[in-house]
Amino acid sequence: MHKYLLKRLILAVPTIIGVLTLVFLAMHLAPGDPIDMMIPPDLEGSAREDMVNRIRAQYGFDQPLHIQYVNYLTRAARLDLGRSLRNQTPIIDDLRRRIPNTLQLGFLSLVISVTAGVSLGIVSATRRDSLFDNVAMFGALFGVSIPSFWLGYMLMLLFGLHLRLLPPSGFGGSVFTVTGLRHAILPALTLGTTSAGVFARFTRSSMLEVINQDYIRTARAKGLAERVVVFRHALKNALIPVITLLGIQFGAMLGGSVIVETVFAWPGVGRYMIAGINARDFPVVQGAVMVVSTGFVLANLLADLAYAYVNPRIRYE
């Protein structure tokens, strides 16, 4: 177990470095001068000249690529992500304010999607081919196919504008307060719908695989109640692979937050990134992508460790 933990931890380091490298390459191998790309197109004359020189000095573009690369990595390791071109604010500070907002939204939607998805999947699997199963799987496919930005506006229209049950958009502070939670429900539902569909389909097939195994037949043959068979025997093993999916879906949510935060005017990392792209504020885009992907690698690491912990086949190795 300890060996496995150590191995996974050590393996995460080159992955993170690889991600940072890919971001670096994307920025530097892109067609055109990176400085041109960083300068707002509306800037002209001496202001432009000033900015070119400042960026060149700030990013060391006059240095050879490998030196730039090493500098980039060491700065990243010190969490120095540079400054925004537009506002001159340190990017890491901007991100620090927004990361909790994105995480809160992500966790809330993860809670919604896991609760809905896993329970639908379990019931579907135990009543395979029943009406419930068919309807649930139909609904799961709906969830996977619906464009989240459109779903967001439809929910906003129904619950926010027509029924006036919830604020249509905006941010109400931490989700642990009533106002905050009320603001977070619609975006979290929007963000969680796709994942709920994925969880339902995955849990169902994982559960069916387990239910067909011999030890389940043995448990039934012993005369155990179906409830005990399903919840004590089958579910434990069926949920182990779901843990891996949890890490992946958390990442999908980080990616999806870009759209959902734009729809609901949620002050998170995703909207920050899009604002950066639209303003051609490249250091901002780079910093946001770096942080989000590193977060995803860490989430997957966490999921792997949890997987190892609950799976005795790995735990006792």
């Binding site: 992955t15 993170i16 690889g18 991600v19 490298t21 890919l22 971001v23 994307a26 920025m27 892109a30 067609p31 790309m37 139909f138 496919l141 709906f142 996977v144 196919s145 619906i146 464009p147 989240s148 930005f149 459109w150 506006y153 439809m154 906003m156 229209l157 504008l161 169902r204 097939s205 069916l208 695989e209 067909n212 958390f250 990442g251 999908a252 949510m253 980080l254 990616g255 999806g256 870009v258 759209i259 734009t262 729809v263 990134m273 899009i274 792209i277 639209n278 885009v285 992508v289 989000v292 992907s293 977060g295 995803f296 690698v297 997957n300």
Partner: protein, 302 residues
Amino acid sequence: MSDGLKTKPAPTVVALERDVRPAASVGRQLLLRLRRNRMAGIGLVFLTLMMLMAILAPHLTPYQPQQQRLLWRLQPPSRDHWMGTDELGRDIFTRVAYGGRVSLVIGVLGSSIGMLTGVTLGATAGYLGGRFDNLVMRVIDIMMSFPGVLLAILIVAVLGPGTHNLVVALSIWFTPTFARITRGCILALRDVEFAEAARAVGAGSARILFFHLLMNSLSPIIVYMTLSVATSILVAAGLGFLGLGVQPPTAEWGIMVSTGRQYLRDAPHVILFPGLAIFLTVLSINFIGDALRDALDPRLRV
């Protein structure tokens, strides 16, 4: 007695022979299994309708997708405008139909190019093994470390928005998954006997790889290809919505939702119909993909 012994087995053999019908071809079996799936049928019909609508767009509507009539802006659905008009008085049905051309072409292009590069990379890596395999798989691991659509967003952010760059971003984004699937299949097949037999009769590596191994790995690739067309349409619309994909004034479903959002309260039909078009198209492709998976790979049908 000896006669009896001789004749007795005969009827069984005859019976067996009578039972053995010529095995249905793989394609025929597939068709049979698909026909039993009602959802796939619905999906196929709807997708065909969508494609016809896109292809025949100029014949279905008297309007042009960019034709503005400011006096008729934000009209609700009526007999003249089946889906109403948008903020510039453009006919929404016309734009949805023309938008179908853009979305379907981008969906198919993005996933096909991704499939070609991914399958080539994965097959070569799996077949050659060793250092090349290691290198390819590490790069793919890293590409897959970008959560969700983030890699596609990063690529578009670097290359700049636009239809062309959107297709490039989608292709790169799909490559790792196709590569992983193909490599897995090739690895499982590499040392199988029919490949050995082909080598024994003097077939070259390329021939074995493409005609023998890859042909036997097609099922999962076809299934993922179908599903990836759906994803591709969804992601393209999402990037269009964010302003990173196809650029206005082109009629594209994602952009239509994006520009219509300001009128959500008073004219919800402006974003209702393009969104429905995305949703139903993606849903019908997913129906087909699911049915294909059930039909092609009975092992996965749990």
